[in-house]
């Protein structure tokens, strides 16, 4: 009897299918209201452009990539995705409070890896994800989920390459998780 992942010590997550149906309806609502899907990585991009624009405005303007997002009327932070991401933080906090998951700072890690290593890997993973999301024109929520939901070819490509790569390389990084 070595299985202790019983219902008692599981945090109270909602049924994943309920989450899925609600998320699907939310995407539908978002498309219905705004004509485009959800997103996440765009907000970080806005943050990058904003800091860059504050520290070195001329270099930002000279940069072909960042200059697209700089406007004279308002800060690059004043975009739809930034507000949406603020909402994500608030919503996550609300849910955490409701289900009693807001506790002191802690780290999730696999049984065979220390917290410190986990944080380093998280940083590297985040950097890769940030880099990849710019090439892919969006991350899992923006490109893969909302893109595929609107039948965009690009969304399907991003979705299959993210999960395909994940499954191919999962074996080599199993130490991190199991």
């Amino acid at each position: 009897m070595n299985v202790n992942n019983t219902i008692d010590n599981q945090p109270k997550y909602i049924n994943p299918y309920l989450g899925g149906v609600l998320l699907g309806l939310l995407i539908l609502l978002t498309v219905y209201i705004t004509g485009r899907g959800l997103g996440a990585s765009g907000a970080v991009k806005s943050a990058v452009v904003t800091t860059s624009n504050t520290i070195a405005p001329s270099a930002t303007k000279a940069n072909n990539y960042m200059s697209q997002f700089v406007s004279d009327d308002h800060s690059p932070m004043y975009t739809w995705l930034v507000f949406e991401t603020l909402g994500v933080l608030v919503g996550g906090l609300l849910s955490g409070l409701l289900f009693g998951r807001v506790k002191k700072f802690r780290t999730d890690h696999g049984p065979n890896i220390t917290s410190r290593k986990r944080l380093i890997w998280a940083l590297i993973g985040g950097a890769l994800f940030g880099l990849g999301s710019q090439f892919g024109r969006g991350c899992t929520s923006g490109a893969a989920l909302s893109g595929t939901a609107t039948f965009a070819l690009g969304g399907v490509i991003v979705m299959f390459s993210i999960f395909g790569t994940g499954y191919i390389i999962a074996y080599f990084f199993r130490k991190l998780w199991i």
Binding site: T6, N15, Y17, L18, V21, L22, L25
Partner: protein, 211 residues
């Protein structure tokens, strides 16, 4: 305990609510009065077909009531209709074309196998309604060439219009390039001759309703 052993009743409620929303949507959806049956390509192709049109000399049979599968619709307004119309024609003013009962009427006539011939003051007036009805699938609708004006001028001798081209549209009645060329010399013989020709053509054109 695996997730699949728990009762997903909230998921069921959420999805059912969505289904209810869709059902309500379908129930409250208004059926459009008309829908395009022909694509753009088909619509353009159809314009070159002659079966779109009804020729003035064919009216003879309709007026004499020799055929009972052709119905004439006068799309001019009620006042003008009262002043004079082709015998046997019904008034269906252009302004009333979008009324539901009139569309239903057309629908009914199509099912019964009637040919509906529209006519207006001239061909132009009936052109738009003809195209639209054709595009929404009323393949039994035709248009009287020349319109009421041409009929009115020739109503005493409709058979002879077989040889006339006054009601035909869509071709040049003049040699445009020649006519619009800079006229340097004064009246030479060629110009004079042309002028005569123009005069004659002009007359037929007036007969066809002018411009």
């Amino acid at each position: 305990m695996h997730i699949h052993e728990l009762n997903p009743w909230r998921t069921l409620i959420a999805l059912s609510a969505f289904v209810v929303l869709l059902v309500v949507g379908f129930l409250t959806m208004q059926k459009p009065l008309m829908a395009y049956q022909l694509t753009m390509d088909e619509s353009i192709k159809e314009l070159t077909e002659s079966e779109l049109y009804f020729y003035p000399w064919d009216l003879e049979a309709v007026i004499a009531k020799e055929t009972d599968t052709i119905i004439l619709f006068d799309i001019r307004d009620r006042f003008v209709f009262g002043q004079g119309h082709i015998p046997g024609a019904e008034n269906l003013s252009a302004n009333d074309l979008t009324k539901e009962e009139n569309i239903a009427r057309l629908e009914e006539l199509k099912e019964k196998g009637f040919t509906v011939v529209l006519y207006g003051e001239d061909e132009l007036q009936g052109n738009g309604p003809l195209m639209l009805f054709r595009q929404v699938g009323f393949s039994n609708v035709k248009l009287l060439l020349g319109g009421y004006n041409y009929y009115f001028q020739h109503k005493d001798d409709l058979y002879s219009t077989v040889d006339d081209d006054g009601y035909l549209k869509g071709f040049a009645r003049f040699d445009y390039a020649d006519m619009a060329a800079p006229k340097e010399g004064a009246l030479n013989s060629g110009a004079e001759k042309k002028e005569v020709q123009v005069q004659r053509r002009e007359k037929t054109n007036v007969a066809a309703g002018g411009c």
